[in-house]
């Protein structure tokens, strides 16, 4: 398993953002669903080694991210797209991706080809020399994805990757996700259930810092059948049904 998380919690002062989450994920695309404030981004940041867990056990790519040496090894094999992507406006797309390839300690001889490949894969080849300040929001998002995949990561963490992408790009991105998931573990945090349905083999649904559902998209669809839950698509109805059940249980407790 590339991701092994057991009873992980994370507190920010009095706020418990993640409350006893356990997850396992191997190669494939894993969807992390949930409403705003459910704790998806915090969980992803812990998996990205940005912040440590307050309690619980985390193992990534078979290593303990709490120790510096293994953490560095994890980071060499990690790709991360944060929810709010920062960027240097004066950098070109190619320089931005190259910069992160170098920060990821890729062998320098491999960097130019890897940068070109990553940029091509997000369909920004014709804008490789464009300054980031000149790009649209969707193009910036794709530049962010390019930096995340430039090192061919074994663990790829994407926080709201399709935000700002147009429908055509979103469809293309899902294909890329499926492709990446064939040999890597790709964890996609999103609130767009259609992304999950189209690309993910496994899905977890978070609510109030807890995982309230873990299974396949088909299983999530099944949870919504006959419940009369709100939603235009089967997956949305499953999502709504699970959330409603979780909220009822929480209210009852």
């Amino acid at each position: 398993m590339n991701v092994e998380i057991s009873e992980v919690t994370r507190r920010f002062g009095r706020t418990q953002a993640v409350a006893g989450v356990s997850l396992e994920a191997g190669p494939g695309v894993f969807g992390l669903l949930g409403p705003n404030g459910a704790g998806k981004t915090t969980l992803l940041r812990m998996m990205a080694t940005v912040i440590p867990a307050t309690s619980g056990r985390v193992r990534l790519l078979g290593r303990d991210p709490g120790a510096y040496g293994p953490r560095r090894e994890i980071r060499r094999r990690l790709g991360y797209l944060p929810q709010n992507l920062g960027y240097y406006p004066g950098f070109t797309v190619a320089e931005f991706v190259e910069y992160f390839a170098l920060l990821k300690e890729m062998p320098p001889s491999r960097v130019p080809k890897a940068v070109a490949t990553a940029i091509e894969r997000v369909d920004l080849g014709d804008r490789a020399k464009a300054k980031l300040r000149s790009l649209s929001g969707g193009m910036l998002r794709r530049a962010g994805i390019a930096q995340a995949i430039v090192n061919q990561p074994e663990l790829l963490l994407l926080d709201e990757p399709t935000a700002g992408l147009d429908p055509e790009q979103r469809v293309a991105f899902r294909a890329l996700l499926r492709d990446l998931g064939e040999r890597s573990t790709v964890i996609v945090s999103t609130h767009l259930v259609e992304d999950v349905g189209a690309a993910c083999g496994q899905v977890a649904l978070m609510e109030a810092g807890k995982v309230v559902f873990h299974g396949t998209p088909e299983e999530l669809i099944a949870r919504g059948e006959g419940t009369g839950a709100a939603g235009d698509a089967p997956l949305e109805r499953g999502y709504s049904a699970v959330l409603a059940a979780a909220r009822s249980a929480r209210a009852a407790a």
Partner: protein, 517 residues
């Protein structure tokens, strides 16, 4: 988006880390904010460092007194460099890239150091280019002497220190205001350095980068780079101090938990402490500074080889038949000197105590130590006239005077100092008889008695570093000038004969006014 085969990870190869660092540096060099500010610095450098310097005598010691001695090149660069470095140091935080950079394998401190290095390379390279262009302009203008490269190194290190301090501020305070605060802080630091430096000729304050009390003398120009090498002692301790600040500031950026692993952070602590120790050692060494004839000496660092005079081939001319030899750096003033000395040398030609030749000697540092220095002395057997031209304002642009030095004023000053030396008046004003002979010689050389008190006052004012032992004469009246008038009124042959018979007694101070004809 295109699908592509995901390849296997390549094994990390030996030597990849330096190559990766070099590429990272290249990206940072290409996308750095420092070049944008260089045009402004260039304009300021021209206005504040170069332009005032060309109004001084064409000697490196004089030309660089303002811009390197008083640190104006550093003042022009420092605050701006600190501001831009703070801008670059705060870049990650301002742009919201902290999380993303943290998740990469390369320690954040290493990434920050690459950004700092690129910023500093731009700044230091620009500093060196600007100074070299200035020196090239000096060379075209025929400036005499040799450039003070050690002081250039001090300036370059100061630029790096400002860059490091500004960068550390930006890294710790990733705000859009960090750049302005760093620039203002740099300006205040320079202002305080200047305020303290100019008034302290010794002690810890010698470490300050704008303190000209070193090989640069604020009141007169020593002959560093002309007769002696520029002493590296004080520059070395200033480099230690400034490099220490830079190292400590960079070490500080490696202390936060996100900077890297435990070993790296321990290294950052060690680097910070090493920087503090280096700066402290520099200050400690500066307090041991001693003044020598050729500049400031730091005993622990001093290399006696630097005390050896520079070899040179003198440039020679003649004044009233007396050979006059100068250091080639002063060759342009040969006509002024021969014109100035000719009338007074003619007056004493053939006398037993008259100089048989004249030669330039180095000005002694510091000026005025133990009384006003003598620019012209006469001694030896046969007598040789020795000229310390580094102590006087030479004809032409003067820089920090009220205006350019005109040849006539220079000639009168030289004649006064010659007559003073010839009469044996020493470092004081001399006996009344000696003063009378001096006045008579000046009168014969064409300077009316009425103009002499002012000339004496101006010359003493210029040469004396402290209060004068006795007030300058206010007018050309009294017994001294009466005796001088009598001596000047004699025929040339009669004066010559009188001087021949009384010169030894006059110089020994045994003559009174009544002994004059």
């Amino acid at each position: 988006m295109a699908s592509a085969e995901v390849g296997h990870r390549a094994a990390r190869t030996f030597g990849a880390a330096p190559q990766g660092t070099a590429r990272l540096l290249r990206v940072n060099l290409r996308r750095n904010s420092m070049p944008w500010i260089l045009l402004l610095i260039a304009a300021l450098f021209w206005f504040d460092s170069y332009r005032p310097s060309i109004a001084t005598s064409p000697l490196y010691g004089m030309r660089t007194f303002w811009n390197l001695g008083q640190g104006h090149t550093i003042i022009d660069f420092g605050p701006f460099v600190a501001g831009v470095a703070a801008w670059m140091g705060s870049r990650e935080g301002r742009r919201g890239l902290g999380d993303l950079v943290t998740t990469t394998a390369r320690p954040r401190w290493a990434a920050q150091l690459a950004t700092w290095a690129a910023t500093t390379i731009w700044a230091v390279a620009a500093y060196l280019v600007f100074v070299c262009v200035m020196f090239a302009a000096y060379a075209r203008q025929g400036v005499g002497g040799s450039p003070p490269w050690w002081w250039v190194a001090v300036g370059a290190t100061a630029v790096a220190a400002f860059s490091a301090a500004g960068f550390a501020l930006g890294a710790y305070w990733p705000s859009r205001f960090a750049a302005a605060v760093a620039a203002f802080g740099g300006f205040v630091a320079m202002a305080l350095s200047s305020r303290t430096g100019f008034s302290h000729t010794s002690g810890w304050a010698l470490i300050l980068p704008t303190n000209s009390n070193g090989s640069f003398d604020g009141s007169v120009q020593a002959d560093s780079g002309i007769f002696y090498p520029w002493l590296p002692d004080l520059p070395i301790v200033r480099i230690m101090f400034l490099a220490g600040i830079a190292v400590a500031a960079l070490g500080l950026t490696g202390l936060p938990a996100r900077a890297g692993g435990p070993w790296l952070r321990r290294a950052a602590v060690a680097v910070t402490l090493a920087g503090v120790a280096l700066a402290g050692t520099g200050i400690e060494l500066a307090t041991t500074a001693k003044v020598a004839a050729n500049g400031i000496v730091i005993p622990a660092l001093h290399d006696a080889a630097n005390d050896a005079p520079l070899a040179y081939r003198p440039v020679c001319g003649h004044a009233a038949g007396v050979p006059l030899c100068l250091n080639p750096a002063y060759a342009r003033w040969m006509p002024n000197l021969t014109t100035a000395l000719a009338p007074v040398l003619l007056e004493v030609r053939g006398l037993a105590g008259a100089p048989v030749r004249a030669t330039q000697v180095p000005a002694s540092y510091p000026s005025g130590n133990g009384g006003p220095p003598q620019v012209i002395t006469l001694g030896g057997q046969p007598p040789v006239l020795r000229l310390s031209l580094g102590l006087v304002n030479l004809p032409g642009p003067c820089g920090f005077c009220s205006g350019p030095v005109v040849s006539k004023a220079f000639a009168n000053q030289v004649r006064l100092m010659f007559a003073h030396a010839f009469a044996g008046a020493g470092s004081g004003r001399g006996t009344q008889a000696q003063q009378a002979v001096q006045a008579a010689m000046l009168r014969v050389a064409g300077l009316p008695f009425a103009a002499q008190p002012r000339l004496i006052a101006n010359t003493e004012d210029f040469l004396a570093s402290g209060p004068r032992p006795q007030p300058a004469p206010s007018s050309a009246n009294g017994p001294v000038y009466a005796a001088a008038a009598r001596l000047a009124g004699l025929s040339a042959a009669a004066r010559h004969a009188w001087l021949a018979s009384h010169l030894a007694a006059l110089r020994a101070g045994r003559l009174a006014l009544k002994d004059l004809p």
